[in-house]
Amino acid sequence: MDSLPPLLKVNGIEIGFNGRDGNFLQVLRNVNLTLHKGESIGIVGESGSGKSTLALAAMGYLKHGLRLSKGSVNFDDQPLFELNQSKLQTIWGGRLALVPQNSGQSLTPTMRVGEQIIESLKLHTATVPKDYWSAVKRLLKQVRLPEPDIIMHRFPHELSGGQQQRVAIAMALSGEPDALLLDEPTTGLDVTTQAHILELLRDIASTKGMAMIYVSHDLGAIARVCERVIVMYAGESVLEGETRKILRNPSHPYARALLASIPKLSSGGFPAALDGRPPAPSGTRNQCAFSDRCGIAQSRCFSEHPKLQKLTNGEQCRCHFPELIEQIPLSSLVPKPINIIGKSKPALNLKTLSITYEKRGILDFIFGNKYRNPPTVDAIDLSVGIGETLGLVGESGSGKSTILKSIAGLKPLKSGDISLHDGSNLPVDVEKRNSEQLRRIQLIFQNPDESLNPRHTIVEILAQPLRLYFGLTGKTLRDRAILILEKVRLSEEYLDRYPSQLSGGEKQRVAIARAFIAEPEVVLCDEVTSALDVSVQAAVLELLNDLKRLNNTTYIFVSHDLAVVKALSDRVAVLYQGRLCELGSTKNVFSGPSHPYTEVLLGAVLEPDPDMVLNLVADDTVELGPPALGCPFQRRCPRRLGSICEEKSPPERLLEVNHKILCHISVEDL
């Protein structure tokens, strides 16, 4: 492969923007990338690493405000940054095609998807007009969209996230490009959808010999699709080489720490936190960007900027001391927290909860008409012990966030009750709860950008619960705030800052502090790590774990990420379309015989393991809502028994002590 000229060559590019005081701040420093025909390269990095900028720059495109100060990008020996618009327009879409991150927003809302694909065909291929629609159908079939005839006449907003992404891939393929550039194409999609799309990309790569540049923060996705990988940190490439080798034994401290911080289903350890944050874009760099977070940093690392060196194993590594790498553990040495199950009284009891989003008109209300659609959430019976962590897993539509909102009092129940450990009933409406009840249950949200008032300083944010529940003021209030900040490992100087001055991880810690400052008994965590970078996630999980041990807090932890749930939870409940499928201890649910849906989920999880094989037993069709009768999983279940699944609600079956599933299949047959 080395004898052939490369398809795309990025030569030492340096990209940046002019900061407020006029300095040139670099987003990418001296980055090189070579892509050969048929090759697939992954670019891995977290937020701020510059990976998206690199992907777009590889096409010769810079976002508004950025400029190229050094280097060049050559595609097929043409320097992309020196070509005029019309030449670039032949290349864009025709020879280099982009699959964007959020197709829902990247497809024009006023044009049907078929028309958008035809636009690409018109621009880049020799297809004659009478063949347009049949070509579109062919392409949609290639990306495995069911009912292509119907889909091609739809508007983008009428399709699900997974369908939109496939359309984007079809549109990229339509120009018959030499290479695809994919910018986080599966972010935001469900676990199963993600897995299917990655398989599709693998197939495309192998059958068409398509070259690919795949940008992602998810090492598991990269492991699936790419032969080679470049790890980016703070605008530089710090490690390059074969994916297999790098995932097994990375030679750069950052890559190692990153790998160790990812919670894995397979490993036993608790993910290891990586403290600190990457440096902001700056001018010249006089030291190793990772030095302040590195486990093997020496004095040279703080004074001299390391260059990429070729190691004996063929990888390129930007480190002064690659020989010391063995000192950093490959996977986390932190032991998993001890599970406590069934040893304590229930802190919270949910009995036959049923929640619906449907609104009934005034007339319906007067006449007492029933609801037309089945409730969003139904028949939920759960209890959580004091000090226990209950994980709720499921994909979109599973109702897990809805249940949390109801416990918090923000969403009224259709029927059922919630009771506390002293047996008293928790009023469903937050306005009817008394101060004690309000204090004892606290909620932490997913997105720290939105859950903290941007106009309040940190101390004001923390003051709210203190004033409301304890009536504290003045110096006592401030002191208490300082104390809680210490517990979440933030120093006193954060008190007077605004959220916009904090990083994502820091903001989430403030949100956690705000919840714990009320001294709650139950903390509801709604996807609290999903919006954070991987390495930051581990730190937050560690924090949650520590707080739990110190205060004996009960958690209900909602997440779509199974590995994260496994790391933190004692017991797990699996939900599908608002109904319970399986409930048991973490150990039992994640191993051994399980509910068919749990199997589907587990088979689709992407681990950063190059030898991992996915077990895709069900396809990723979109459910519009729960079925009125029978098992919620009836439409997709690979082990459907027959009409019984559609007619009768599945009974509870006990697999082990305290481990039950709801399925018609008997225990022996599973």
């Binding site: 918090a408 009092g409 923000l410 937050v430 306005e431 709860r433 101060s435 309000l438 606290q442 909620l443 949200f445 997913q446 997105n447 939105e450 859950s451 903290l452 008032n453 941007p454 106009r455 309040h456 709210q464 619960p465 409301l468 003021t473 003045g474 705000r514 009320a518």
Partner: protein
């Protein structure tokens, strides 16, 4: 109690500091600088003009009706022999007084109701907005004139009338701005903690909506001035012989063909003030980082 007072004072102090930064931002752009200077100039003029006007606005010199600009009368005299220059200098006083008082009242009450509607949401909100919309569908002139014709056009009638009618569109703006924030998690977090509705309005929503309201307030002021001068023009606003730009333009219209100064004086004065307010409002919006999509005035 003293603690709350200290909190209040520190808020005022930080707002004060912020206000100066904003003013600085406005002055950094040429349009903003021009605008704000014009506004300040007019305010000073309105306050101080009685002290230095060359002639009494009422004084009629029968021998000098409709005279040309001269050394003693810089802009000439109007059809009743009154000095146009003096009347132009004084013409903005009543307008600025009435609108200057009515605008903050309008923004306050409209803003509060708007935020409340935005927070409450649901059917009540929709129903009440229908009524608001129906009310807004009637031409403003009609509504105001009915009141003025019945109750007179003294300052004490004009201020509440303008404040009431111009507060209603503010409800819409405040409600829309609140909608942007109500869905955000920090409001849900406050609800989940069990804060009372009033606390949520004042503590969570208002600081976020405040900037939009400020910019809207500036624009309201300019619409109000427009309305006020239009009313005077039509004969329903300031009563003669008091000087007012709208009234002066109406009076001088008939003589425009040979004595344009009677019209030009007030035209330049009124236009410069309104343009000044608009330029300042634009600059204010940019300084606060608000993206304004222009709506038609009501």
């Amino acid at each position: 109690m003293t603690d709350l007072l200290k909190l209040f004072l520190s808020k005022i102090l930080s707002l004060h500091q912020k206000a100066w930064t904003v003013v600085g931002d406005i002055y950094s752009k040429p349009s903003g600088a021009i605008g704000l200077t014009l506004v300040i100039f007019h305010i000073c003029l309105a306050i101080t003009s009685p002290l230095f006007v060359p002639y009494d606005f009422k004084m009629m010199d029968a021998s000098l009706m409709l005279s040309e600009p001269s050394f003693s009368h810089w802009l000439g005299t109007d059809h009743l022999g009154r000095d146009i220059f003096s009347r132009t200098l004084l013409g903005g006083r009543e307008a600025l007084l009435v609108t200057g008082v009515a605008t903050p009242i309008a923004v306050t009450w409209g803003g509060f109701i708007g935020i409340l509607f935005g927070l409450v949401g649901g059917r009540i909100d929709e129903f009440l907005m229908r009524i608001v919309d129906a009310f807004l569908s009637l031409p403003w002139i009609l509504k105001m004139l009915l009141l003025i014709v019945t109750f007179g056009s003294s300052t004490f009638v004009l201020i509440p009338t303008l404040a009431f009618f111009y507060g209603i569109p503010v409800i819409r703006i405040a409600r829309a701005a609140t909608h942007d924030f109500v869905a955000k998690d920090f409001v849900s977090a406050a609800k989940a903690r069990g804060h009372k509705r009033l606390t949520i309005i004042l503590s969570e929503l208002l600081p976020n909506v405040r900037d939009s309201l400020l910019v809207e307030g500036a624009m309201r002021w300019s619409w109000m001035l427009l309305a006020f001068s239009s009313l005077s023009f039509l004969g329903f606003g300031v009563a003669p012989p008091n000087p007012d730009w709208g009234l002066m333009i109406s009076d001088a219209r008939g003589f425009m063909s040979f004595r344009p100064w009677g019209v030009l004086g007030p035209v330049v004065a009124l236009s410069s003030l309104i343009i000044g307010i608009n330029l300042s409002a634009d600059a204010l919006a940019k300084a606060l980082g608000i993206d304004r999509t222009q709506k038609a005035p009501v």
